[in-house]
């Protein structure tokens, strides 16, 4: 239907002076943008298929390619943006729910960028992290409420199971299915090398990754895919996924086309059959049901594993968190509305939930005001982009953060936000064999380790600057933050002062 024709969003620009017709672009583009028609004698391309993933740009040996935003435009309208218009065309043409991936791209405030970090001057020495010990080790888990001693007065270890981390960073849940095996293996290997944990997501755990169990969080989501006793026992912790920042209140749906041999085996569902995760756990309709699930998992694993409850950051997140902190969960993971996803209804992704910074600050304050902050550790997630975001999150009160998108970027993701097509040219969000192999876990592991090692260094630098040499002394240390350009209410929720105060 010509009425639905939309000029491509991007244009592929080829510098023919540099193009040597090596056809790497053609071979590397799963969207089939590039072509070498024999009779043309030169490369041609169909920009309408381009998702702007940069695979061709990155691999072009002569750097002959660039992708630019098309300047084709609708008549300017501050209200009816081109995006709004084209989305209507799409829906009018198909009747479908708009489906998007990765995190919320809309222009909401990013509070991390409106907070500044303190440093010591004169009255208190900053610490040089290159010389002095600078500790980022973190234990996650509930803290014992009372001290007990044996007859000889020796302390009895009443510490519930903990997650031990070399730094307060973990890889957040991304299921095998939504991302490739090689991406999973990269995360697992990097986690092991770094002394942190990665998260299986809701797709079960591939048998060949069981060996990374000590560095694995196994997730139990509403679909319960691949959940069985051995799975539960294989990880260092169990996460109950109640919600996800990118799509609060929405379940998951991995289309049958992505349920191939290995995925089918891992999820324990037949090949080609949709993997549907209902929006709620149908055995949890209330907080006391959550307690039931928490304890059923603890029973199944003999109280050896900390249980994480992951929720999306929503309006009354602090009250929910308070309930969770009393549910027997050891750790609460809060996922802000910028968190990524393999696929979510666009409207949900872009309009539901609240920023992690505010959610985190209010949860931490709420739990402290109720005196139950030590019942649980807090993991903050949802678009942590740098080590300074981490420092800020921890100063706001997080024990640890999850990174998802940042990890994927390290693995090569270029945020083209086309995961839902399953044609990820970087071998990450795909199950197509020829694409999956583009991510060599050996490279992936090194890149993840590099990223987090660098971040750890930066965290140490910032901590040193503040005169802090242990990460626990940063946790909730909000006096280390000042706001810029925030209104009173925002400052109050964040529990920080304005810069200059």
């Amino acid at each position: 239907m010509p009425v639905d024709y939309l000029y491509p969003e991007y244009e592929v620009i080829r510098n023919y002076d540099r193009c040597i017709n090596c056809r790497v672009c053609e071979r590397q583009c799963a969207n089939e943008v590039h072509e070498f028609p024999e009779n043309a004698g030169k490369m041609v391309c169909d920009s309408s298929k381009c998702v702007n993933c940069h695979r061709c740009v990155a691999l072009c040996p002569t750097k002959a390619l660039k992708i630019v935003k098309s300047d084709h435009t609708f008549k300017h309208n501050a209200n009816w943006s081109g995006k709004a218009i084209t989305e209507i065309y799409k829906q009018a043409g198909t009747g479908g729910v708009l489906l998007s991936s990765m995190g919320n791209p809309e222009n909401y405030p990013i509070y991390f960028d409106k907070m500044l970090i303190n440093a010591s001057q004169v009255t208190n020495p900053s610490i040089d992290p290159l010389r002095e010990p600078m500790e980022t080790r973190t234990y996650l888990g509930s803290k014992p409420k009372e001290i007990r001693r044996d007859q000889d007065g020796r302390l009895i270890n009443t510490l519930p199971p903990q997650i031990k981390l070399s730094m307060p960073i973990m890889f957040s849940a991304m299921s095998y299915g939504s991302i490739s095996y090689n991406a999973h293996e990269s995360l697992a290997r990097a986690a092991q090398e770094l002394g942190i944990l990665y998260n299986t997501g809701e797709g079960g755990l591939h048998e060949s990754l069981y060996k990374y169990g000590q560095n694995t969080i196994v997730q139990v989501a509403s679909g319960r895919f691949g959940v069985h006793k051995e799975y539960l026992g294989s990880g260092a912790a169990i996460e109950i996924k109640m919600g996800q920042g990118a799509k609060p209140g929405i379940g998951g749906h991995l289309p049958g086309t992505k349920i191939g041999g290995d995925i089918s085996r891992t999820r324990m569902i037949p090949e080609g059959s949709d993997a549907i995760s209902p929006a709620p756990h149908h055995d949890i309709y209330s907080i006391e049901d959550l307690r039931q699930l928490v304890f059923s998992l603890k029973e199944a694993t003999e109280y050896q594993k900390p249980v994480i409850v992951k929720i999306a950051a929503v309006h009354n997140v602090s009250a929910i968190a308070s309930g969770i902190a009393r549910s027997g969960a050891d750790i609460i993971a809060i996922d802000g509305f910028r968190g990524g996803t393999g696929a979510a209804p666009t409207r949900i992704r872009d309009n539901v939930g609240i920023p992690i910074e505010l959610a985190l600050a209010s949860v931490d304050s709420r739990l402290r005001s109720e005196g139950i902050r030590d019942n649980v550790s807090i993991i903050a997630a949802g678009s942590i982009r740098s080590s300074s975001d981490i420092v800020k999150a921890i100063a706001l009160g997080a024990d640890c953060i999850y990174i998802g998108t940042s990890a994927l970027l390290a693995l090569g993701c270029h945020l083209c936000r086309s995961c839902q097509t399953g044609k990820c040219n970087w071998g990450i969000a795909t199950q197509r064999e020829d694409l999956v192999k583009r991510l060599n876990p050996e490279i992936g592991t090194v890149r993840l380790v590099n990223l987090l090692t660098a971040w750890q260094h930066e965290i140490k630098e910032m901590m040193g600057g503040m005169g802090i040499n242990s990460i626990e002394s940063l946790r909730g240390n909000r006096s280390m933050l000042r706001g810029t350009g925030l209104n009173e209410r925002e400052l109050e929720i964040l529990g920080i002062k304005h810069a200059g105060e």
């Binding site: 193009c19 583009r438 490279i443």
Partner: protein, 144 residues
């Protein structure tokens, strides 16, 4: 000795190794100028079939049949690298007939062409390895 090894599992069939190899041989500093409108003659070549792909280059055998059968003495082993003296080589292709890996090819100049691990150009270490985007080609010590 360090050799070029191919991890077939990770070969994407992108053929970049061939282009980087061809570029390395030119000793030019701009790849576009070096290879523009040229039919490349790389020392490493990708085989592809039914979704399987991998690159093949000289194995630098310890008992190199090519050098042993060379009728001119152009092929010799220099510090482990099976090297060809292109001045001496007359392009009889006895080496091609003998190389079990198909790693030697005729060159345009009438001599043969083969991987010499970039010991003969300004790259210092194999350009195919540096150019491989997926670490499918590595340059390392592995035993043979």
């Amino acid at each position: 000795m360090k050799r070029v090894y191919v991890n077939e599992e990770w070969c994407l069939g992108c053929h970049l190794c061939e282009y980087y190899c061809a570029f390395a041989q030119t000793n030019e500093n701009d790849i576009a100028r070096a290879l523009k409108d040229k039919v490349i003659k790389p020392g490493i070549r990708v085989e592809e079939h039914n979704g399987i792909c991998f690159a093949v280059s000289c194995r630098h055998c310890e008992e190199p049949l090519c050098a042993k059968s060379c009728i001119t003495g152009a092929l010799t082993v220099v510090s482990g690298i099976v090297s060809v003296d292109t001045e001496k080589c007359i392009g009889c292709y006895t080496c091609i007939l003998n190389c079990p890996y198909g790693a030697i090819s005729p060159s345009e100049k009438g001599a043969i062409l083969k991987c010499q691990l970039c010991s003969d150009n300004t790259h210092g270490s194999p350009a195919c390895v540096k150019g491989c985007p997926n670490k499918a080609i590595v340059f390392e010590e592995r035993g043979l």
